[in-house]
Amino acid sequence: MDQIEKRLTKLALKGDQQAFAEIVGLYKDKIYHLGYRMLNNRHEAEDIVQETFLRVFKSMDRYDPNQKFSTWIYRIATNLCIDRLRKRKPVYSLDADMNDQEGLDGYSLIPSDDRTPESELMISETKQLIYDAIESLPVKYKSVMILRYLQDMSLQEISDVLGMPVTTIKTRVHRGREFLRKKLETKF
């Protein structure tokens, strides 16, 4: 994976559109997932994907090849999400409710092929509870928890993406975990 990425990045740096298209193919779903969980809104998640790749494309010449490409693209995407969350804060929950009905019922979280009555039930109970709990986290914990648990990043990787010391990331994971525990404690 890393070798492929290195080659693709090199090609894309030279302005190879095909190589860039492949990078988009590799990352668009991951970035979309990140955006969707951060913003809880499909349209905004797509905006984030689009904006991220546009930034990547425009600043290819500033990419440091010693850095992992994934770290770089996640940094751009995460910062874009955090910016959006900060900007919309006052009308936030109202906005999310009105724009994204289907994201809230949870059914759309699984691809239509896999939809069985059982899986819908499962989603709508425990998992939805956890998603709601994550959704209610303050921004700085939310981003760390999403990167940790939904993007499977190590504490070190999150520290690289957010440009913060590992100790800070650790503290945030601990607090985030406690926050979720309290939210879920009655449900276990």
């Binding site: 860039f20 298209a21 988009v24 668009k28 979309y32 689009q50 425009k58 650790k170 601990h174």
Partner: protein
């Protein structure tokens, strides 16, 4: 061990970051403290619930890739004077001589350049000589523009950062939410002049 330390160790355990010795200490405490035992169970269940969430679902719409590729700026064609330069090396050498001349002229122009800083809350920055520093922990809200000076960013800039005729250093702690632009007026001017010279010759 007090319960506060125990809780902290529980989290380290869940991070897979607990030394053997501490692991034993934690176990011993959990066996003797019902509250912590309960809390540990809840934390473990929270952790398991988090790991049970699907990873890359939902997916983006199929047209998205196409839309992304369509919005990208088109790859620039090599400019006409670059092609021309390749074909006329002698004239290129002459032009380079011209560049050197222009550079020295600009140097004379630039000698008395003054540091200019534009922004909203400038109390957040520190100026040392011609170096403008945003210290770690400080937040400049809005755009920041620095002309004829060095910029060293350790803190946050909540807007665009523009450095004109200067240098820029951003530390790993720096967070710049807007666009970062370094503008070299002298260079831009040379390019402008050069392409004019070239196109005049090229079309003759």
């Amino acid at each position: 061990m007090d319960c506060k330390l125990a809780v902290s160790l529980m989290h380290d355990y869940l991070d897979d970051d607990l030394a053997k010795e501490q692991n034993m200490m934690l176990k011993a405490h959990l066996q003797s403290c019902a509250d912590c035992h309960m809390r540990f169970k809840e934390l473990e269940q929270t952790e398991m619930a988090l790991y049970s969430l699907p990873r890359h679902i939902p997916t983006a719409s199929k047209e998205l890739t196409e839309r992304i590729l369509n919005t990208l700026p088109k790859h620039k064609e090599p400019q006409i004077w670059v092609k021309w330069m390749k074909r006329h090396p002698a004239a290129t050498a002459a032009a380079l001589f011209l560049v050197v001349m222009l550079l020295s002229v600009i140097n004379v122009f630039n000698q008395d350049s003054q540091l200019v800083v534009q922004g909203n809350n400038l109390d957040q920055i520190v100026i040392e000589g011609n170096t403008v520093i945003v210290p770690e922990g400080n937040v400049v809200s809005g755009d920041l523009t620095i002309e004829n000076g060095k910029a060293e960013i350790f803190g946050d800039v909540e807007g665009n950062l523009t450095v004109i005729d200067g240098s820029l250093y951003t530390a790993s702690t720096a967070q710049i939410s807007g666009q970062v632009k370094s503008v070299d007026q002298a260079l831009d001017w040379i390019w402008f002049k050069l392409s004019n010279v070239f196109s005049e010759i090229a079309y003759r």
